[in-house]
């Protein structure tokens, strides 16, 4: 019996069965010394949109055997064969890396001779390859209209519609999909909105013939006024919150949600240098703390930038051909296409309780650049042969304490632990200092 093992596009997919252990995070935020995963159970979606035209690219974090992979996505219109495409996974990796929150480090100059050096550290995302066993094809309708059936790349795709959710639910169950309790009404509400269901699974013989050993992102182009991502199916019977990364590529500017608050993540903070060795742990804790502060009811902005450049760059901007493949149809083949593309990276942790309705977006005219950026400033360790060095050392200890407090505030970590890790002395409290000393100090 086939199983659906992951949220597979947790925004869009019908989550039929969950196997959390098989999943590993794939998005970026790695430092050179830390290649552990950051966020589990995460999915990535690229939305290239201009006017009513949308190209949706869905990257699966599926780590099991392709035989057990399937995805069921509500789509707003009928989808023809030409509207479906299979993209290269490297595109998702690239846009992930380009937009990843980044750690940059500065080195304090010799206090006796001022100069600054900036060394950006790019955090590139790494996605593990998945193995590729076979998967059976099947297409049998029971009370369901199979509007179309395609094989695109290594995927067998069905476009389904149904008069009632019961019919589709029965069909899916009888064809080996494990439908979670409570999915029926959700399917029904999409059917009543005249949405179709896009069902994809891996065609093993095609996959073998093509030689891919991993699941490539699926792309769908459609024209609809609906600028939204249906997340409700992914939350049915889900085992805990899920992570979703949305990369929006637009012509005019930043994308935000209209039915949930979009919040900029704290950025630009100076952190104790020891964070360099454990940036993923910091970022995960910081994100969790922000989610708590917003009562898990907000969508977070991690990056908003004109695609033509970056500063500092976590990865090179995407080329015109990459953008075109991701669905940027409005720039043509202009080599400077990036100047006409604005990228927004949104990160949301959601569950059914806090995100009862699907995400609805709007494109704004905001082209102000924003990036998740965290700063390390290394102390000057050379000689201190000038009077300015005395002042420098005094301000340095104050700075270190401030950095520790910033880290504590951002992550919720105990300040005592941070001071210990950063080898900072415990600053005297005002109670510890005799009051008369504070008068004439």
């Amino acid at each position: 019996m086939r199983r659906l093992l992951s949220p597979v596009l947790c925004t869009l997919a019908l989550l039929l069965c969950w196997q959390g252990d098989a999943l590993r995070a794939f998005c970026g935020f790695y430092v050179a010394k830390a290649d552990t995963s950051l966020f589990n159970r995460a999915s990535q979606v690229v939305l290239a949109r201009d006017g009513d035209r949308t190209v949706l690219t869905m990257a699966s974090d599926f780590k099991g055997t392709p035989k057990e992979f399937a995805v069921v996505i509500p789509v707003p219109t009928f989808i023809t064969r030409e509207q479906i495409h299979v993209a290269e996974k490297s595109l998702i990796d690239h846009i992930d890396a380009y937009t990843s929150p980044r750690l940059v480090e500065y080195f304090d100059s010799d206090p006796c001779r001022r100069y600054d050096m900036l060394r950006p550290m790019a955090m590139a995302g790494v996605m593990k390859d998945v193995s590729a066993p076979a998967m059976q094809e099947r297409a049998k309708a029971l009370g369901v209209t199979i509007e179309a059936q395609y094989t695109v790349g290594e995927y067998d795709i069905l476009i389904l519609s149904a008069k009632q959710s019961g019919g589709l639910e029965t069909w899916l169950t009888e064809n080996g999909y494990r439908i979670p309790a409570g999915a029926g009404p959700v399917i029904g509400s999409y059917l009543r909105q005249n949405m179709r269901f896009f069902v994809a699974r891996v065609n093993l013989s095609e996959q073998t013939r093509l030689g891919f050993t991993y699941l490539r992102p699926l792309q769908v182009a459609y024209e609809s006024p609906k600028f939204m991502l249906p997340i409700r199916l992914g939350t049915v019977n889900a085992n805990g919150p899920q992570e979703l990364f949305i990369y929006a590529l637009t012509r005019t500017g930043r994308v935000e949600t209209t039915n949930y608050r979009t919040v900029k993540l704290p950025s630009g903070s100076e952190l104790p240098p020891y964070v360099k060795d454990d940036f993923p742990r910091f970022y995960r804790a910081m994100f969790e703390q922000q989610v708590r502060r917003e009562s898990m009811s907000a969508v977070f902005l991690e990056y908003a930038w004109d695609m033509a450049w970056c500063d500092p760059c976590a990865a090179d901007p995407m080329s015109a051909s990459e953008l075109k493949t991701l669905g940027v149809f409005w720039t043509g083949d202009d080599a400077r296409a990036g100047q006409n593309v604005f990228v927004t990276r949104l990160h949301v942790r959601y569950d059914a309780q806090h995100f009862p309705e699907d995400l609805v977006f709007q494109q704004t005219g905001d082209r102000e650049n924003f990036q998740g950026r965290y700063v390390l400033r290394h102390a000057w360790t050379g000689g201190d042969s000038c009077p300015a060095a005395t002042d420098y050392k005094r301000t340095l200890s104050e700075r270190r304490e401030k950095e520790a407090q910033t880290l504590s505030n951002l992550t919720g970590w105990r300040i005592e632990e941070i001071r210990k890790q950063a080898s900072l002395p415990v600053p005297p409290t005002t109670e510890d200092v005799a009051w008369w000393r504070r008068i004439w100090k």
Binding site: G188, S189, R192, T252, R261, K264, A298, P356
Partner: protein, 291 residues
């Protein structure tokens, strides 16, 4: 109706409080300089029209209300576009008048025109989030108390019709009740219902007319949002429905709203007055987003 004090002061206090809350807690994307620009442009435009038409008195309160409302709603990176929205909002009160009554809620038309003209202007309906919802509700009801429910009928009718449409659609789709409840718990919706649609200077004069008007706005907003799948349904619907107010007033006549302490004037008196903007042009008590 005589009120103990001008409810516009309450409006200004509420709007200022919301702006402060937006700055302090919600990280509103509007700088103090931008707020000063919007407020300054509204006041200057009002002053210019008063001066140009040789009207007897300059009243800053309604212009301040418009300016504060734009601070809460109007988002753009371009200061010129922000100033244009403020200018259109205030000027509409002086330029677009039928039978002595201005047609559009100033903030509403200022935003609608700029949204139509430029991609670089937007409104962020999600900016309030849900936690502030209860505070909005309280501020809104407080406003009804202060105005002695001068235009509570239009607010309540709008909320009832809109809620019925949203809940009805969810019921028909088989959605869980959490979805319509989440849609009602919107700061933007309550701000609109209590402080924009209730503008006594642009709503119909008769109660029956106001009920019809409220239902029209609610139906239009629902249609834009849930049938056309466009944002800002509330703003578009109010702007379009306002065009029908003169017709509604003709079919369902009533007495014109007047300031607290003043007698209502029949429409003829206003339209024939040599300086019509001196009295009812200023935003009424319930026109927080009108100005």
């Amino acid at each position: 109706m005589n009120l103990r004090f001008d409810p516009r002061l309450y409006q200004i206090a509420v709007l200022s409080g919301l702006l402060a809350y937006g700055w302090a807690a919600l990280g509103f994307d509007i700088s103090p300089a931008r707020a000063a620009l919007l407020l300054g442009t509204c006041l200057a435009t009002q002053f210019a029209w008063i001066l140009g038409r040789r009207l007897p008195a300059f009243d800053a309160r309604s212009a301040l209300i418009s300016g504060l409302s734009l601070c809460l709603l109007c988002r753009t990176s371009d200061p010129l576009l922000a100033a244009a929205a403020a200018t259109i909002a205030i000027s509409s009160k002086f330029l677009v008048r039928i039978r002595g009554k201005h047609v559009f809620n100033p903030t509403n038309i200022g935003l609608a025109v700029m949204l139509l003209l430029s991609d670089a202007v937007w409104v962020s309906p999600g900016q309030w989030g849900n936690p502030a919802w209860f505070a909005f509700l309280m501020a809104g009801f407080g406003f009804l108390v202060v105005t002695r429910a001068a235009r509570a009928d239009v607010t309540l009718a709008f909320l009832c019709v809109y809620a019925a449409l949203v809940a009805g659609r969810s019921y028909w789709l088989g959605e869980p009740s959490a979805i319509p409840i989440h849609r009602f718990q919107s700061g933007a919706l309550l701000l609109f219902a209590f402080f924009m649609i209730s503008d006594p200077k642009t709503t119909p004069d008769s109660r029956a007319g106001r009920l019809v008007f409220a239902a029209l706005v609610a139906a239009g907003a629902w249609y834009v949002q849930f049938r056309l799948f466009r944002t800002n349904g509330l703003l578009w619907s109010l702007a379009c429905s306002s065009l029908l107010v003169p017709l509604i007033d003709r079919l369902l006549p009533g007495s014109r709203y007047a300031w607290p302490g003043r007698h209502s004037l029949p429409p003829e008196d206003v339209s024939h007055a040599p300086t019509p903007v001196s009295r009812p042009v200023h935003a009424g008590p319930a026109s927080v987003l009108a100005g």
